[in-house]
Amino acid sequence: MTILESIPRALAILLVAAQLACGAPGSEPAPAEGPGSDSPSASLQGTPGGRLVAALRAEPGTLNPVLAADRPAQTLRYLTHSDLIHINRETQLTEPALAESWSVSEDGTLYTLRLRRGVFFSDGEPFDADDVVFTFEVYLDPEVASPNRSLLIVHGEPVRLEKIDAHTVTLRLAGPYAAGERLFDSIAMLPEHLLAAPYAGGTLSDEWKISTPSDRFAGLGPFQPSVYRSGESLTLKRNPHYWRRDSQGRQLPYLDELVLRFAPSEDAEAIRFQSGEIDILSDISAGNFVALAASATSAELSLRDLGPGLAYNFLFFNLNELAGDDLPAVAARQEWFRQLEFRRAVSEVVDRDAITRLVYQGLARPLGGPVPEGNRLWRNTALEAPARSVESARARLRAAGFTLGADGTLRDPRGAPVRFSIVTNSSNRQRVEIAAIVQEDLRALGIEVQVVPIGFQSLVQRLLETHDYDACILGLGGGDVDPNSESTVWLSSGSRHLWAPAQESPVTSWEATVDELMTRQLTEIDAAARKRQYDQVQQILAEQLPLVYLVSPNVLAGAHRDLGNFRPTILEPSALWNVHELFWTPSRKKP
């Protein structure tokens, strides 16, 4: 995962999507078949002790929360650190964390946070406002190049944090910001007493590597790193000073140890989960979920289908303004891609139900717009997946001047055969299968498509740098339900505006309208007005089809049936979001 450390956050988010994870809030936990389908709504009183084994898809690039770019490192940040205001993964609302309360000024630009008292880092040192000031200084330092830095730039200006007293800080924004409270999530509070010296010396990026001895580490999360076995596992031990307590006042977490076992693929994870080597698993693929439910050991497992998450898969065409004569072949094909009727015909001919059934075993939902069903708060419910109609698609193409040749090949108004390639990332089998389905569907229109699965790094380079591709199948899924988490996708200047990223000014008029609406909702404090604006954005995106929305996969998770408080969420880190309250029921306790 080290390559990832060098790529910006935008790409890291892309990768998250590429690995097909993406939790998303808002969906009703729909119990899976088999045992363990009871879904407790409130936390149960646990019994302390025990050891839980979870899976991690790769070794984290770093233990340093400031630099966590890859997904394993972000999971680790969640487990070993705490933030001031936290997004509860279950309710999807903000809740007090290290800040026990806060107030916002009337103009929405000044946040005053009162810190929890009597909080200690895992090494026993106290936590106070100096640590908060230090943390924001580090995150905002361009030299440190934290992937989270862009989150703290609001209206083009960095947020300003000031200490009022030892337990009060204020945060000033350049203007009102609709999702202000959500800014604080994932900003891990750092121990000034350990990191001030390396930061001053410019060596912060060398601190807290995965092999760093545990006595040089301190965090405010439920666990702290203990033993690292290269290529095998990272063991975390209970943080004896963790600030959270259960309703009876007992210190959390309940578990003594959390072992993160590195499993290189979703299949390796599933095999180990089935054999009992791993106790808890997020991001199970649909095929593996069905196989696990049918396996002989399924009685031991609690498998949960949480319904569609925030992830959405889509096909899109290269709509970049290509400079000069660099890519004449691509530029020639762009004449088709730029035609709305062409994109609509493609959208209409794709068999979304077949994708749902064949690729996801029915554990996905067809999409008609950019916001999946998992996001119940913000989805424009008027947007339905288009009904498949080959006839209507053909009529659209005919109207746009395309003709069907005698050999069954579609030809453009100039008589050139319509042929192009679709790239996708080879590591994601579901996407390669989706591409095979789209390829067959387009054949019905006389369009010959080559499917080219390539490595993820090379794919990102083509999409964002060289623009040397025709069409691509990819997925995205924000870390949060709030529209702001998708703003880099829909803003024409955004780094994830995949079909034509980082535009200096919007190329089309509808992109200009989307830009305006997205900017307006950013500062809109009235939630209903904000919803209307975002609905309008979705409406435009569904009409203009810069992305041909395909399906949104369900979020699937599982754990050993004797694990208490197992309530996975569609928001990351799905099964481990409430790791502090997970416990082994007396019927089975791990040694």
Partner: protein, 337 residues
């Protein structure tokens, strides 16, 4: 015994290559045809007796309907007799002659899945046959190229000796040390995205052959060197025979048995190399089947646990081909020995 088993192996291989040369005819369906109502269907059972116990001389199949358990049951209400040399999906024979005749098929809406179907409802038997074309001929042509290069270079090095020998043999060592897998990945990466699968296959063949010549070259060099010093060759040279004459008349014919044996050993190696590359996803495009990318599906947990049997077929075919070529190689060694 050995020669008989070698002959048997040769016939089997001949038959197999003939099938692989005409995949459109031998496969009931096209490799990309998806029947989306039947993903992961089990192999279709052939019947001679119908539900009432009546014997039918032409075997027939029943249609499939999904049952509750996510599997399939036979729908005995309609029989579909096998049709031989009937019309079906169109294809081009040897890539040239348009045709739609298939060795065996059934009338629609019946579906003949001799080895079952995959995740997208594609017929696995058809994909195995088409995959054989890719895997077997990549091996065969790759080995032919390696032998042609190796034979020529080895014969020149052995016959002339001296500096030419040193240069050629050191070059062969360099080639043996080159990481050809990375070269292959790099060669694939610089190709345009819309490279047709046939060209991608050609690249695989060129790289297999282009990097496989050193071993046969070194062997043939040894043979050529020893022949070049034989008395009858020296005598011929004394009578004024040219180098070209000596190579053509005396040296190359003597290397024949070595070349045959090497060929029989190299082909299965290269078939396995292609399978390995496609298994890793750097061989032929996944849009067209090869035994390697079919075996690649076996890595998936749910396939491994519930549908492993159908993917065993490319594995079995591979074992069979490797075994047959090795028998052939042994036969060739014994004959020449």
């Amino acid at each position: 015994m050995t020669s008989r088993s070698a002959r048997l192996a040769a016939y089997c291989l001949l038959a197999l290559h003939a099938v692989a040369a005409l995949p459109g005819f031998f496969a009931p369906y096209g490799y990309a045809v998806q029947d989306r109502d039947f993903p992961y269907a089990p192999p279709t059972r052939l019947h001679f007796f119908d539900a009432r116990g009546t014997l039918h001389l032409v075997p027939f199949i029943y249609g499939l309907r999904p049952d509750e358990g996510g599997s399939y049951a036979e729908d005995t209400s309609e029989r579909y007799p096998l049709r031989f040399f009937a019309r079906g999906d169109s294809y081009r024979l040897l890539g040239l002659i348009p045709s739609s005749r298939h060795l065996v098929t059934v009338d629609a809406p019946g579906r003949l899945f001799l080895m079952g179907s995959d995740a997208l409802g594609r017929d696995l038997f058809s994909r195995l046959v088409y995959g054989g074309t890719v895997s077997l001929y990549a091996g065969l042509f790759g080995a032919a190229l390696a032998l042609a290069l190796g034979g020529l270079i080895g014969a020149l090095a052995g016959f002339y000796g001296g500096r030419l020998d040193s240069v050629l043999m050191r070059t062969s060592e360099v080639f043996m040390a080159l990481p050809w897998l990375y070269l292959l990945i790099a060669a694939r990466a610089i190709q345009p995205l819309d490279t047709p699968p046939a060209r991608a296959l050609l690249i695989v063949i060129l790289i297999l052959g282009g990097f496989g010549w050193p071993r046969p070259a070194r062997l043939i060099r040894g043979v050529a060197a020893s022949i070049g010093r034989r008395e009858h060759v020296l005598a011929a040279r004394g009578f004024g025979a040219s180098d070209l004459y000596l190579l053509r008349r005396h040296v190359l014919p003597r290397t024949g048995s070595v070349i045959w044996t090497q060929g029989a050993l190299l082909v299965p190696q290269f078939v396995l190399a292609e399978v390995g590359l496609s298994f890793l996803g750097v061989g032929v495009s996944p849009s067209i089947p090869s035994w390697g990318n079919m075996l690649g599906d076996l890595q998936h947990f749910h396939v491994l646990t519930s549908d492993w049997w159908w993917l065993g077929f490319p594995g079995l075919a591979l074992v069979f081909v490797t075994l047959a070529y090795h028998l052939l190689a042994r036969g060739a060694t014994v004959t020449s020995g």
